[in-house]
Amino acid sequence: MKTGKILLDHGSGGKVSHSMIREMMLPVFYNSILAELNDGAVINIGNQRLAFSTDSYVVDPVFFPGGNIGALAINGTVNDLAMSGAVPLFLSAGLIIEEGFLISDLNVIVCQMGLSAKNAGVKIVTGDTKVVPRNAADKIFINTSGIGRIPEGIEISGNRAKPGDSIILSGTIADHGIAILASRAEMKFNSSVTSDTAALNFMVQRMLEVERDIHVLRDPTRGGLGTTLNEIAGQSGVGIRIHEDRIPVNPQVASLCELLGLDPIYVANEGKLIAVVPGDSADSLLSVIRKDELGKNASIIGEVIDGPPGRVIMQTRIGGVRIVDMLTGGQLPRIC
């Protein structure tokens, strides 16, 4: 049933978003760099290899447990750059603000952006501000773009997963999505779940000191772990097997997911990475990640297998097997 109109599903990061990008945008914008469909583009200028990425932040509510839209806007783009192995250097910031938004709130967000940029070691070097009439935007939207330098000898890309590789997840999943959901006004419960928003670039740099040949890095944001693993399996033409009992989930997050009828593997993260790495360096990488405060719950959650290509299979806790498909649209809460 097609309406000819954009639905919220088009922005969910799942199959509906993917087909819009592949069918409408990729053919028009086509070039070999975009066609890689990685989190950030890798471009060569002279002898320099640069990573370039952009992302827009429209989170509701703007302030949430564990951060605000300003922190997300910086960390998100820093992470997109870091996922290509780059050292993030410079960011741009575009703010679209709704008429009537509190200046004091804007000030908090801007200060947070400054702090997050400083912590991640990046500079905001250009920007833009627009104000639109009331109801033409929801409070504040932020776009950030970023550039980073990719050190020599690093080839990280979604199409490099190989059978025999190990899959490392840097910590608990679903914290961000559940923190946002729980803090929405219509949710009448209190929880202590906080967003995991954080910049992962220093963790990535330490990982690269141990193993230059990391094959794939991804931050499983919108669409969650399940969708990101499907993207990797699809791009690399391999199968992926994960083990349910090795996927860390904060118990409170797990209960809220039960309550709301959501599957945590499809819920957004903002400070976690998935690394696909050669099997024999998995243990040393795991210990590097675990030494980082942001990676203390890291776990080797699975491995890359020959096939079926493009499929993610989960060994369930009770010893069963199921397929983890890509999320279709947004997850809808269930009736009972």
Partner: protein
């Protein structure tokens, strides 16, 4: 009625523990699987009535650990799936009325009616809001006195009491702009329709957990006394479901059908009389049309005359055209356990969760959606 007095070791372990994690324990599940395999002698078809069971079975990969002789078929216990197409059309029509806010549980959003869905109407500018409880809809009513708020009442005995309570609360709060479109259904009449139908071949029922919390195990007495149907009330964790399957196979193999309650930590014989009383204060039973199954006597809930000020069917003026079910869609046979989604001509092509043809593909609890998402007929036993 048997309350599992003679407990085997596993049951004793299950009854004695209260937390979810233990029910997902691979050791417990593994030993149940072994026990099931050791007693299974012939081919059986077991229907899990409830959509939440369907999802748990897929999510935990239960089919892949059971002996081949056991086939699990999914029944009519996904509320979205059995909501008639004409009712979806009514929801769509209501959402387009002037000064209306529609409040709904999320599952209903993508369900296709004849020409549209609530999701499409939201993109067309209709004010349709997802709520997690009918009480949230009361809040919306209080904040929008100039608009009418219609809560779409879909669900079984699990949701009906809360929705009844919201109507009572609306009266106490003087919220005259709050109303409910009741498309509620009750499960026991549907089970009776299934066991008495000649074309439905089922050897045993896994009975729903949540519904049973409200109606109590006594409500299913007819399955044992009148129909001699092996039936076990089950919780939703993998060990719960495996335990229920073990009890069912034991009954089938011993030739002694009975009603057993294997969800003792939540379900009593009487259920929750207070919830039922609230439900009965506001609703009365009527015949209801189940998508794919047809009309079942006394299986629907209608708002009583006393509360007709809150009945959206009476208070709103909307028209819907008579609708024909989608050609080729096997949702009806799937809900009765006569077909699996793979046997439907439309499964995957063109019917997918992105563009669902029938309702079983829409709800996350729908059999087709669960097949599509978790199984995809790719996993081999």
């Amino acid at each position: 009625m048997i309350q599992s007095k003679k407990l085997c070791d596993h049951e004793r372990r299950i009854v004695g523990i209260k937390f979810i994690e233990e029910y997902r324990d691979s050791g417990l599940a593994g030993s149940l699987v072994k026990r099931i395999a050791s007693i299974t002698k012939r081919s059986v078809r077991i229907m899990e009535v409830c959509g939440t069971h369907t999802v748990s079975i897929f999510r935990n990969g239960l089919r892949s650990v059971l002996p081949q002789e056991i086939s699990l078929v999914s029944g009519p216990g996904c509320p979205v799936c059995v909501t008639d197409q004409s009712e979806i059309d009514a929801f769509v029509a209501i959402s387009g009325l002037e000064k209306i806010i529609v409040a709904t549980f999320g599952d209903l959003l993508r369900v296709p009616g004849t020409n549209s869905s609530l999701q499409n109407e939201r993109a067309n500018g209709c004010d349709i809001r997802i709520v997690y409880s009918p009480m949230d809809a009361l809040g919306i009513a209080a904040q929008n006195p100039a608009k009418k708020i219609v809560f779409l009442g879909v669900g079984f005995e699990t949701t009906a009491p809360a929705i009844a309570a919201s109507i009572i609360a609306a009266r106490e709060m003087g919220l005259k702009n709050f109303m409910v479109y009741s498309a509620h259904k009750t499960l026991p009449p549907a089970l009776e329709a299934l066991v008495s139908a000649p074309d439905v071949l089922i050897d045993g029922f896994i009975l729903p957990g949540h519904v049973s919390v409200i109606i109590g195990s006594n409500a299913y007495g007819f399955l044992e006394t009148r129909y001699k149907m092996p039936s076990v009330i089950s919780g939703f964790e993998p060990a719960d479901i495996l335990h229920a399957i073990f009890l069912l196979i034991s009954q089938i193999e011993s030739g002694i059908p009975k009603l057993e309650n294997a969800y003792l930590r939540a379900v009593t014989q009487e259920g929750n009389p207070r919830a039922r009383q609230i439900m009965n204060t506001v609703f009365e039973t009527v015949d209801a049309h189940w998508r794919g199954i047809g009309s079942i006597p006394g299986s629907g809930l209608k708002i009583r005359e006393n509360y007709d000020w809150a009945d959206a069917r009476l208070r709103l003026d909307f028209k819907i055209r008579e609708s024909l079910p989608q050609k080729g869609c096997a949702c009806g046979e799937i809900l009765k356990g006569m077909k699996t989604p793979i046997e439907c001509l439309l499964y995957k092509k063109p019917c997918t969760p992105v563009n669902p043809v029938g309702p079983c593909m829409v709800s996350s609890e729908g059999t087709c959606a669960a097949y599509y998402r978790y199984n995809q007929d790719v996993i081999e036993r």
